[in-house]
């Protein structure tokens, strides 16, 4: 049963209840587009196309060794251009999903073409430059074809480039990671184009930029707490955008909240004044803010923020127990008391709701 069928049955119930006039049934259903059904001919055409592609790839692979380098190069560049041309054609025919997929495949094939070109002609290989080059090309294709898939590929390739032959987290590398420009661009495109996958990956990329910055600095509590506050401020901005119906800003809200709490938690274990760390006062702030985060997540109907709050609360309790040096029996007792308090509180709230 399709969505339209289900709505039709609901409308019948509303008509029986006298809520809707019978003559409104057809116009209401007309507003719901019919679900596209894949007929047998179309399905066979798709299967045939896929098998043809597999046959072509197998044929080329079987004869790869026997081909001259220039012929191999022509094949890989031709494959890239064919995918890009397919993307251009679907863009001309105004089929955005097909354009997105084909341009993304073109971006991937260009990355493969760079690697294979170096292999075919035995060129000096520089993996980092190759990844950056392929990433820039993917971003160019993404912007040209409004392809969120190609933008995602670009972020992944630039991330590979950043990590290849680099020692970011050893403090010995002085180059700037390219993700510093790629991640904000990805976030901007995710918000502008309304793409959940791109929002997730660019949020993680921005968190990675913060981690890179933290790794370059002295391991001091102040740095991590400031970074946590900055991330918290960005999360608050994302929350504001979400409240103003900016699609997928909620993804950034969730990830930045998560990162802010991770940075805050780590900051509590680093030297604060002299050699001493945040101690019990840090854990208590952590505990309290985790509880506040759960309440905020529930208020905003945001599952990830609530989940981060719960995980953070568990972490804070474990950290506090560790600080207090309680043994397992004492820890079990505290957890039991907390559980009983939570249950009594929940039951009390429920009975009050029923009474009202």
């Amino acid at each position: 049963m399709t969505y339209k069928d289900r709505i039709g049955r609901e409308i019948d119930r509303w008509i029986e209840a006298g809520l809707v006039q019978p003559d409104r049934r057809a116009p209401m259903l007309d507003m719901i587009p019919d679900t596209r059904r894949l007929d047998a001919a179309t399905a066979l055409a798709w299967v045939g196309s896929v098998l043809l592609g597999v046959a072509l790839v197998s044929f080329v692979a079987a004869n790869w060794d026997g081909m001259t380098p220039i012929l191999r190069f022509t094949i890989i560049v031709g494959a890239f251009l064919a995918l890009a041309a397919g993307g251009a054609w679907t863009a001309y025919r105004e089929r955005p999903i097909a354009t997105n997929i084909l341009v993304m495949l073109a971006a991937i094939s260009y990355a493969a073409a760079i690697g294979l070109t170096a292999q075919i002609f035995d060129l000096p290989s520089d993996t980092r430059t190759a990844c950056y080059g392929a990433g820039l090309a993917a971003y160019g294709l993404a912007l040209a074809g409004r392809s969120t898939g190609a933008a995602t590929v670009a972020l992944i390739l630039i991330g590979f480039g950043d990590f290849t032959e680099h020692g970011w987290f050893t403090g010995q590398d002085h180059d700037l990671p390219w993700m510093l420009f790629a991640a904000p661009l990805g976030a901007y495109l995710a918000l502008r184009w309304g793409s959940a996958p791109l929002a997730h990956i660019s949020a993680l990329a921005i968190v990675y930029c913060f981690t890179w910055f933290a790794a370059r600095t002295e391991a001091h509590a102040g740095t991590f707490i400031v970074l946590a506050l900055v991330l918290g401020a960005i999360a608050a901005s994302a929350r504001w955008l979400r409240a103003h119906d900016r699609q997928f800003a909620g993804v950034f809200y969730g990830w930045f909240t998560f990162a802010a709490f991770v940075f805050f938690a780590i900051g509590g274990y680093l030297p604060w004044f002299g050699d001493a760390n945040g101690g019990v006062s840090h854990r208590l702030i952590w505990l309290t803010s985790s509880g506040g985060l759960i309440a905020l997540g529930r208020h905003d109907h945001h599952g990830m923020v609530t989940a981060v709050g719960v995980l953070s609360l568990i972490g804070a309790i474990i950290a506090l127990l560790g600080d207090l040096g309680l043994n397992l029996m004492a820890s079990a007792g505290i957890f039991l008391v907390c559980a009983v308090v939570a249950l009594i509180g929940g039951l009390a709230l429920r009975s009050r709701t029923k009474a009202s």
Binding site: W64, D65, T68, P69, I70, F73, V77, F80, L81, A84, A85, G87, A88, W89, A91, Y92, T99, V103, A106, Y110, A113, I114, T117, Q119, I120, F121, D122, L123, P124, S125, D126, G133, A137, G140, L141, L143, A144, G145, R146
Partner: protein
């Protein structure tokens, strides 16, 4: 004038293809016009399941027990000098001009040396040393049959300390070393693009 998405995609894809073709032509010209040197190589691992067939190369120059390591490298350049039919590392420098004063062929490379141990007393032969040259070249892609033949030659070379395999390297004006091919049992095996 507004450029539509189809035109934009075609323009960007064409630019990407031109850059790739231009890179290949540029590298080909640099390889053809560079100074050709022969360097001793050793095999590391002949093939990789995911990367196709290739010979993994290590530019190692053996040092006899009575030889010395070149001076410790201070920059990103190394200087090569011919010794017989091959070229060997004679020192390092921070720039091309400085490297040219150390040896006639400057190349962007790093080297590390394990010094040999001289003979200790009667009947105790010395232990040979080794200079490892990192030219950012580590693979030579060939067909499966050629890879196996080269692998056999490299293995035999490792066992009897002979010099059956040499790398043909072109060193351009930019100091970058580009692989032109291998000499296997006195037979040149050059990369052929056509």
């Amino acid at each position: 004038m507004k450029i539509n998405a189809a035109q934009r995609i075609v323009a960007v894809a064409a630019a990407c293809a031109v850059i790739l073709v231009g890179f290949v032509i540029n590298e080909g010209a640099a390889r053809a016009n560079g100074q050709e040197v022969l360097l001793p190589v050793e095999g590391v691992d002949p093939r990789d399941l995911l990367s196709g067939h290739y010979v993994q190369l290590a530019f190692n120059q053996r040092l006899a027990p009575d030889e010395q390591c070149p001076p410790t490298q201070t920059g990103d350049w190394a200087a090569l000098r011919s010794r017989g039919d091959i070229y060997v590392v004679v020192g390092g420098a921070g720039s091309r001009a400085e490297a040219e004063q150390v040896g006639p062929v400057p190349v962007k490379a790093h080297y590390a040396c394990s010094p040999p141990s001289p003979p200790a007393g009667e009947g105790a032969p010395g232990i040979p040393g080794n200079v490892h040259l990192d030219l950012s070249i580590d693979r030579f892609y060939v067909s499966q049959a050629e890879a196996q033949r080269i692998e056999t030659a490299l293995a035999a070379q490792r066992d009897d300390a002979s010099r059956r395999v040499l790398a043909i390297v072109s060193i351009g004006r930019d100091g970058i070393a580009r692989l032109k091919g291998l000499v296997v049992d006195n037979q040149r095996l050059e990369l052929n693009w056509l």
